[in-house]
């Protein structure tokens, strides 16, 4: 195999490579296939024995039914996700700006102090959090969840912005200072306009995380303020379910984050790396 591999040998390796890649594709796509064919069957046509077969008649009704049932939950999820992602991104950007460009005595420790919040298991704060949200009258309101997701999003957003702003040359900041610009003027006219890629990464990351979140959602919401993940878990968790509806609901719940992934794939991967390799 070393220096000059026989052409035939190389070919067979290439085939093996593609065979494994395609096998892996089958593994990753299989659940999606199952979700789609089940959602498209007539409820009466769904059987365990015939689960893999394509539907005889294509029934789009389950999607309409799931759509009406889930519309309020989807609306909750959108309000929650967009507000909390925007708020945590804005605060994270200001924090990152300070930690990267305007350190104060002890700012490294403060940074580490904030960062640690990223890793805690939320079960360790859940009881006081529940009491607190109830005490300030936000239990069962979507705004309680917005507050919670904004706060627990701060570590990761601060980290990503800080790492992004470190790359902005100090000379740029100093030049603006010589022109008489201060802390906020430099942020507004120099740093913020350069931040678009970081904002895209952070907002996509937060959007995905918050949309998909379940623990806070199930603890702090009531039926009126439920996000989609809680509604889906309840729908699928009941006994003797007809599986067409949970599958159609699963697709609805997955679609927004999937679209984000397809459209902004590159930024999505960047957020994923920022959240782990540097962690």
């Amino acid at each position: 195999m070393s220096g000059h591999p026989a052409a035939g040998r190389r070919w067979s390796w290439r085939w093996l490579l593609y065979a494994v890649l395609v096998l892996a594709v089958a593994f990753f796509v299989m659940p999606v296939y199952m979700m789609l064919v089940t959602a498209l069957k007539e409820p009466a046509a769904i059987g365990l024995e015939t689960a893999w077969q394509l539907p005889r008649t294509w029934n789009w009704g389950s999607f309409a039914q799931a759509w009406t049932a889930f519309l309020p939950k989807l609306r909750n999820s959108f309000v929650l996700t967009i507000s909390a992602a925007a708020a945590s991104a804005m605060l994270g950007s200001l924090n990152g700006y300070v930690f990267a460009k305007w350190p104060f005595p002890g700012s490294r420790i403060v940074f580490a102090f904030i960062l640690f919040g990223m890793f805690i298991p939320y079960q360790a704060v859940l009881i006081p959090l529940f009491g607190f949200i109830r005490a300030i009258g936000l239990y069962g309101s979507i705004w309680g969840l917005v507050l919670v997701h904004t706060v627990y999003g701060l570590p990761i957003t601060t980290l990503i912005f800080r790492n992004y702003y470190v790359e902005i040359p100090d000379s740029l900041i100093e030049a603006s200072e010589l022109d008489g610009a201060g802390f906020f003027a430099i942020y507004r006219h120099v740093v913020f306009p350069l931040s678009l890629p970081a904002f895209v990464v952070v907002i996509i990351w937060q959007f995905t995380q918050i949309w998909n979140e379940f623990l806070f959602a199930v603890t702090l919401s009531n039926p009126d303020s439920q996000p989609i993940t809680v509604a889906l878990a309840q729908l699928a968790g009941g006994e003797a379910v007809r599986w067409n509806l949970p599958m159609a609901g699963a697709l609805l719940a997955a679609l927004p984050t999937l679209l984000v992934y397809v459209v902004f794939g590159r930024f999505f991967v960047r957020g994923l790396l920022a959240g782990s390799v540097k962690g």
């Binding site: 939320y122 079960q123 006081p128 599958m247």
Partner: protein, 374 residues
């Protein structure tokens, strides 16, 4: 200039202050309150459980003692065991599949971008979505078990999520000895490593620790049993399906981490190795894999802490009340919000925090130190 800079130090502190306060309260303050609650009997008295300001009594470490050695809390002990097994298999699955896929994609197959996108897409989904779909796929007489029939084989028989089988069982009372022996061996290895690095002080310290742990295990371990009865725990086979679903969701993520690492390896290094006459097998095992070790460590930390916290996937796949697929994160939720046993729930939450901190803090410290060195 300098006075301006100094004045803006105050500004920059004030800008961070709101976040600092929020994190201070929501992370550190609440952790503190959880720990305090875990030392009380909050929830023992049903009339006080849901009161706005409940009257509670300080009971010290009683809740912890019950969880680890109490008669009725065997479920928690099984959950701990389950989490360890789950973590081991989940990590092995994600790292194995992720590394394999990354190396395959590193061969630059045609359609590379498409393969990569397909492997990574489950990471964009909610664990609840994944759990809902896999729950349907793992119905005992349908889904995955029907797959063999597509090629003419008999259908699979495994009960997946409803399995009640348990393997690799051991007595909870053997655990202290086993842990002491493991600790002793780990410290002995550390002592050897420190000796090689010519740090004699540390080597002696580690060796003494190793000797103490092993001596305790040999002399007292057998006579010190946490429970007055035999209590068997093991690996619940119902977890296999959950592990498969979890690997399905996170293997692509691991692949993405490895691909980032692979793209950071300079092309000259690969060329140099090939010129030296290395086969591609040797190129990977001798050159590339050692360079990927830090990625493996990061991935293990991230996946490990996800695994310890796993809650939504289990909830969606097996429901909250299935004792055979229970994990501490789920038990904490049920104990607290269904059973109103707030103090015990707080204790479970604290134990989870300690477990996660054991993994994350050494890692964070080494990362921060590396940053200072730079």
């Amino acid at each position: 200039m300098t006075t301006r800079r100094r004045a803006s130090r105050l500004t920059s502190f004030l800008v961070v202050l709101p976040s600092l306060l929020l994190v201070g309260i929501f992370v550190y303050g609440f952790i503190g309150r959880t720990i305090l609650s875990s030392l009380t009997d909050w929830g023992q008295d049903p009339s006080q459980a849901l009161a706005v300001s409940p009257v509670t009594r300080f009971v010290g470490l009683d809740n912890y003692r019950q969880l680890f050695t109490g008669l009725i809390d065997g479920r928690f002990r099984q959950d701990l065991v389950s989490t360890v097994f789950f973590t081991v298999f989940f990590l092995a699955g994600c790292l194995g599949v992720g590394l394999l896929l990354a190396i395959l994609i590193d061969q630059k197959p045609r359609g590379e971008a498409i393969f990569r996108a397909v492997y990574l897409f489950p990471f964009a989904l909610s664990f609840v979505v994944t759990g809902t779909i896999w729950r349907w796929l793992l119905q005992p007489s349908g889904g995955v078990n029907r797959l063999p029939t597509l090629v003419g084989l008999p259908p699979g028989e495994f009960a997946w999520l409803t399995s009640r089988e348990q393997v690799w069982r051991f007595d909870w009372n053997d655990l202290p000895v086993a842990l002491a022996v493991l600790l002793g061996l780990a410290l002995a290895l550390l002592a050897v490593a420190e000796l090689r690095a010519r740090r004699r002080g540390r080597a002696v310290g580690a060796a003494v620790g190793a000797a103490a742990a092993l001596a305790w295990a040999a002399l007292f371990g057998r006579s010190w049993a946490p429970l007055p009865f035999t209590e068997l725990h093991g690996f619940n086979l119902a977890f296999i399906g959950i592990i498969v679903a979890a690997v399905w969701q996170m293997a692509g993520y691991t692949m993405a981490l490895y691909l980032a690492g692979l793209s950071g390896i300079p092309e000259e290094l690969r060329e140099a190795a090939t010129v030296e006459g290395a086969t591609s097998w040797q190129l990977y095992t001798r050159v590339i894999l050692p360079l990927l070790a830090p990625i493996t460590l990061s991935a293990m930390i991230v996946l490990g802490h996800i695994s310890l916290k796993i809650f939504d996937l289990v909830f969606a796949m097996a429901g909250p009340d299935n004792a055979y697929t229970d994990v501490p994160a789920l038990l904490m939720y049920i104990t607290t919000f269904r059973g109103n046993q707030f103090a015990k729930g707080a204790a479970i939450g604290t134990i989870l925090l300690v477990l996660v901190a054991l993994i994350v803090i050494p890692y964070l410290r080494s990362q921060l130190r590396r940053e200072v060195d730079r």
